[in-house]
């Protein structure tokens, strides 16, 4: 009896936010006479958003949960997709190879970022500022500022599909759960996360773990870069911190994921957080919502959700009288 009650609470906790969001978004669209998932294109856009936001949320949270704020994830996404697409265009490689090269170059640039961090031993936020500037500059320099365009390359732009994005979602989730929940690296990560000093004193090697975190985050962002590049067939340049905007898309799903994570594996929470934000994004698109209204609405949802999270106890007391 008790366990079934617990199960119901879990299911309720896991499903409430995404399901409620889905219902609200469907209702909003219906009120305007719009079918939210009308065409295959709508489904693809939805799955792309889920994939991209989920991977970015993983990447951001890996370091942020450990107190390492990383502005550079957007620039890693950009530089790794540039490297991958340039290699693939010049060598005539196929889409899976581009995905692989994006992943590997993401890991490389992430590792480099981590190495700089452990060598200079500066606060990660500062290192990430320098790294962001460096990668943006590097991306600009190797493309002469033009970025990369392969809009006419039907092989590389054929990637967007519900199936392909689903595979990436499942593979990404599986890899992250495996890495952080079933390996020594993951155990050490969790130990360091909950007590840096104690963990280091007990012999956990913090340095390789930190570099590993940057490498994993880099790999994830490499895939995000790949998804973005294959969506439009071009990669636009960004200078002077123009690439950091990517990071901000991950805060709302990260907090939602943190909440859902109380009832299940936190990574699954992040996926559901990404699903929630993807639903909101699709509603914006379907109803052609003005960008300033989008920005304000998203910010209010973020603040409202955080207010709830941080005052949950008080609210419960208030409701109970």
């Amino acid at each position: 009896m008790k366990s079934s009650k617990g199960m119901i609470t879990k299911i309720f906790g896991i499903g409430t936010i995404p399901v409620a969001t889905l219902v609200i978004m469907l209702a909003l669209c219906a009120s305007k006479g719009v079918v939210m998932f009308e065409t295959q294109g709508n489904w693809i856009a939805f799955f792309r958003a889920v994939t991209s936001v989920m991977l970015t949320t993983f990447a951001l949270s890996i370091n942020l949960n450990s107190g390492r704020f990383d502005f550079s994830i957007g620039s890693i996404s950009m530089i790794s997709s540039i490297v991958a697409s340039q290699i693939c265009i010049s060598m005539g490689f196929t889409t899976p190879v581009m995905l692989l090269i994006s992943l590997v170059s993401g890991i490389f640039f992430g590792t480099l970022s981590g190495l700089i961090y452990i060598i200079v031993k500066l606060p990660p936020i500062i290192v990430s500022l320098g790294v962001t500037l460096f990668y943006e500059g590097f991306a600009f320099a190797i493309t002469d500022g033009y970025g990369v365009s392969f809009v006419a390359n039907t092989e590389l732009t054929s990637f967007p599909s519900v199936l392909n994005y689903s595979i990436i979602i499942l593979a990404g989730l599986a890899v992250i759960i495996f890495l952080f929940d079933y390996t020594k690296f993951g155990y050490n990560y969790k130990a360091l996360l909950s007590g840096q000093k104690v963990s280091v004193n007990t012999g956990i090697k913090e340095v390789p773990n930190a570099v590993g975190c940057y490498a994993v985050a880099g790999g994830l962002m490499g895939v995000v870069g790949f998804i973005s590049a294959t969506n439009t067939g071009n990669i636009q340049m960004a200078l002077n911190f123009g690439s950091i905007g990517v990071m901000f898309t991950a805060f709302l799903p990260m907090f939602i994921g943190g909440f859902i994570g109380r009832f299940c594996n936190e990574r699954i929470g992040y996926v559901l957080g990404a699903v929630t934000t993807a639903l909101i994004s699709l509603m914006y698109a379907r109803l052609n919502v003005d960008s300033s209204i989008q920005q304000i609405t998203t910010a209010l949802i973020l603040v409202g959700f955080l207010i709830y999270l941080n005052n949950e106890g008080k609210l419960k007391k208030l409701i109970k009288g």
């Binding site: 856009a45 033009y146 994004s281 698109a285 052609n288």
Partner: protein
């Protein structure tokens, strides 16, 4: 000790420089006078006499002394678009190698404060002229340059009539050469008409920076709508407007394009801005895949944002931008159908005008006014045409405007200069070459 030193340094650094630099907003002149450098070319009596002659209509142009390297600052508002990179390429790879000039580029500018800082840097570096591709506050740019005795020119754009009237006699204002708002309107009109003449009726519009009130994008969109009003049959109108001013006014009211019918012509979709987030890309995707859509008219770059989504459909995409290799590939693959592009050498004449001003021979019309010349686009509607244009446009050995051609402008009078710029079409330029 440390704190004290730091405090003293902070305050002393600020104060000493204030004392060193003087303190009025006309400091540019003061600084220039101190060194004789920024205003050197315009500061001597001889030069002044020469200018008077020049202002009298350039009846007799003095021989130009090109032995000294002239520093010219270039204000850049975008470092990453195909258009700005093509322009930079022409200046760096052709102009700088063929003339005794040193071109200094600003960083990517995003606001009027950035423009002002960049001009300060140019003045510091003894630039004798500034060519501006940035338009946040052109009047402020000109005033700042004039205060420092530095020549100022507008590339790839023009001033409004009111602005021109207020500065046309300013001795440091070289002038502007580029597409005026009328030309931008015409570019949009021609683009839409190209498809209306083919019998197309279902359109979508990409408004680019229209939501941010970027005038050239508003006028291009207005041109498109005007063509639709004309083709839409009796009673066709856009939100009640049937003429150019009315349509422009309607767009300014809402900073968007309303979808719906203009007589028998349909605007099925509209996307504006460059948000580049998931929602925006989803908007682009769904617009490109709308049922019945025939043509996407973009006030800027269309194929990069809609090309892949429109893949496999019969939707045509038309863009306004520059001649970049990516567009050639897109045209060849059928993803881009129409390109109204600025050619990179189009900024050659404004360089010539600026250079000769810096050498002491500014060009003025018979009334002593600065240049105000229109220039339009090269329009490619096929891959072959694109390739023909691109071959010339991307050449750094023999670009559209070669040194020989530009040299004629260094000594040309206003009428000849104006005639040269007016013949901007590809065929006209080939004929001149």
């Amino acid at each position: 000790m440390k704190k004290l030193l730091a405090m003293i340094l902070c305050i002393a650094l600020c104060m000493s420089t204030v004392v060193g630099c003087g303190s009025t907003s006309g400091e540019g002149n003061a600084a220039a006078d101190t060194t004789n450098q920024p205003a050197e070319s315009a500061g001597t009596d001889e030069d002044a006499e020469e200018q008077t002659t020049a202002q009298g209509g350039m009846d007799a142009v003095a021989e130009l002394d090109m032995s000294k390297t002239v520093k010219i600052g270039v204000l850049v508002s975008d470092s990453t678009t195909a258009e700005s990179l093509a322009f930079q390429n022409y200046y760096k790879e052709y102009i700088a190698k063929n003339y005794n000039v040193e071109l200094m580029y600003s960083d990517e500018l995003v606001d009027a404060a950035g423009e002002k800082s960049a001009i300060d840097t140019f003045i510091t570096n003894n630039c004798k002229a500034v060519i501006s591709f940035s338009s946040f506050d052109r009047m402020a740019q000109l005033n700042q340059c004039a205060d420092a005795g530095v020549y100022y020119a507008v590339a790839t754009g023009t001033l409004t009539n009111d602005e021109y009237e207020s500065v046309k006699t300013n001795e440091y204002y070289v002038g502007a050469i580029g597409p005026s708002l009328d030309v931008e309107f015409q570019a949009g009109y021609d683009m839409a008409k190209h498809y209306l003449d083919q019998g197309k009726k279902n359109f979508a519009i990409f408004g680019g920076a229209l939501p941010y009130y970027t005038e050239m994008h508003i006028y291009r969109a207005a041109g498109m709508l005007m063509a639709m009003v004309e083709a839409g049959g009796e009673g066709a109108n856009y939100q009640g407007a049937t003429d150019k001013d009315g349509i422009v006014g309607k767009i300014f009211e809402t900073a968007t394009i309303e979808t719906g019918s203009i007589g028998s012509i349909n605007i099925l979709g509209y996307v504006g801005g460059y948000d580049m987030d998931e929602a925006w890309f989803a908007k682009c995707g769904q617009m490109a895949q709308m049922d019945g859509l025939e043509v996407i008219l973009a006030v800027g770059n269309g194929s990069d944002f809609f090309g892949t989504s429109a893949q496999g459909t019969d939707v045509k995409i038309a863009s306004v931008d520059a001649y970049a290799s990516a567009y050639g590939e897109a045209m060849e693959a059928g993803m881009l159908d129409y390109l109204a592009g600025k050619f990179s050498a189009s900024i050659g004449p404004i360089f010539a005008a600026t250079y000769r001003a810096a050498l002491g021979s500014p060009i003025r019309n018979s009334e002593g006014n600065a240049l105000a010349l229109d220039q339009g686009y090269w329009v490619a509607t096929s891959s072959e045409q694109f390739n023909e244009y691109y071959a010339v446009d991307s050449s750094v050995e023999s670009p559209a405007y070669t040194k020989d051609m530009l040299d004629t402008l260094l000594t040309a009078d206003y009428a000849a200069f104006s005639e040269f710029v007016g013949k901007y079409s590809f065929d006209d330029i080939k004929a001149i070459q």
